[in-house]
Symmetry: C2
Subunit: 287 residues, 2 copies
């Protein structure tokens, strides 16, 4: 397995693969890999076959963090990540330093990709420049790795939707595949940020998954459609019974257009963000 | 020579070329081709060789026109353009309809590429959404044609600079080449918009090139550096002596950073936009 740090070397390799007809599967990550990431790697391998190449990028992208967010504290472990990738059969890890991705100098970085529809609510409302950072860095990574297929995790539901829309709108020659969220045995969605959950916070963090269960149970009762507003109020109270939990947002929406719905029914998508102390977790599911 | 109208067919062909190692040279145009465009085609051919493919796109991109600009009036002649391309040895003309480039439907187009530094002055100030339209459509075209090299004309100096910056910032695997402006024998820069110059306007239109000559003559005089402000005032008066001419902007700037300079000297870039009646023409040169 190769570890590449320079953008030029990455692109040169990718262009050589293209010329020789090698299929490339790509898993962009911010590192600190867990079983969820490795399931994306396995999916990428199945998609490109044994003759294809699987590339994992490990890059904590500064432009998708807000000024008060956890960019510097975000967990990093390139040595452990490289070991996990090697075991998982990854062909190449791309781990560029910031100076390679956003060079300074007389003409500093000044080009951005923005998606202006699906990115507006939820994470986009809570984290104003987040998706601009995501779509910009994914564009750069796609141009450097030149994948045939890229695999994203369903835990970041809105992110996958925004990237998919960007790919269609801008005609990237890349297929986007969204793979199922991996969960701990108690239902907590796997996330590198779970590392922050010390002491009792880890137990309280199951409230995200349990609130999805509550919504599903509410839908099982026969009768009239359920008001989104009412269900939100009820779930907010349910969530905030946990002493360290504060709801950031909870939304019911159309799974394709990401437009909020006023009536919740089977097939509606639910997504939520919850602070547990200082740690912000997200989760989502089809109801 | 092939004429392709569907984005899917274009990309499928481009991907097949990539897999077989064929080099692709690309000339993006808005059609109504003149000798200037054809010089870009010859340049593209020299760059990719006889075994390479030269692609010309012909697309009057609606998103780079302002609401009061000449989008509907912009001259179009696909039959004549196809003939000229065939004679010039072009391999493929890509001429998509608007519905292919910006499909409507339940999830209308919502992704944009913006360059926020070099695009701010001059054309960017005079035409607020112009460069966003340009960088977005060039991104789409690059993803559909997958060129190794793209050739732009120097007449649109700022456009070439903005596209070059976008390509570097977003790591497009494309080399951008800027080819010299072609001029009529009296110095008028070739442009599809010259078609609008009826009657005496054609003669008056040489004022752009003549004002560049005036600036060069001013620099030839020995002595102190020339104040940009003073030279602008003088050239504005010189230009507006033409009865139909109204100066839109005239700028002296650093040719790489596009930052205005206060002192004009050899090596300074000059650019200007002039209305001749309702027709807006641009030109530029290194002094």
């Amino acid at each position: 397995m190769r570890i590449v740090k320079r953008v030029e070397s990455m692109q040169r390799l990718a262009l050589a693969w293209k010329r020789s007809g090698v299929r490339v599967g790509f898993v962009p990550t911010m590192g600190y890999l867990h079983a969820g990431h490795l399931s994306l790697v396995r999916r990428a391998r199945r998609l490109v076959g044994t003759n294809g190449k699987v590339v994992v990028s490990i890059y904590v992208n500064p432009t998708q963090f807000g000024p008060r967010e956890d960019f510097s504290a975000y967990p990093r472990d390139l040595t452990g990540d490289a070991r996990a990738c090697r075991r998982a059969g990854v062909d190449l890890v791309f781990a560029p330093p910031d100076a390679e991705m956003y060079p300074k100098g007389t003409s500093p970085f000044s080009t951005f990709v923005t998606e202006e529809s699906l990115s507006q609510g939820m994470e986009g409302a809570a984290r104003p420049t987040h998706f601009r950072g995501v779509t910009t860095v994914v564009t750069k990574l796609f141009h450097l790795v030149l994948p045939d297929v890229a695999v994203f995790g369903a835990k970041d539901y809105q992110q996958a939707a925004v990237v998919g829309k960007m790919v269609r709108d801008l005609n990237f020659p890349v297929r986007v595949v969204v793979a199922k969220t991996c969960r701990e045995t108690d239902g907590l969605a796997m996330s590198s940020r779970n590392k922050y959950l010390t002491g009792d916070l880890r137990r309280q963090a199951t409230i995200l998954w349990r609130s999805i269960g509550e919504a599903r149970r509410a839908l099982r009762k026969p009768g009239r459609a359920i008001s989104a507003l009412r269900l939100k109020t009820r779930l907010k109270a349910f969530i905030e019974k946990q002493p360290a939990a504060r709801l950031d947002y909870l939304e019911f929406f159309d799974p394709d257009l990401l437009v909020p719905v006023s009536k919740v029914e089977p097939g509606t998508q639910m997504a939520l963000a919850v602070f547990l102390g200082k740690t912000r977790l997200i989760d989502n599911a089809r109801l």
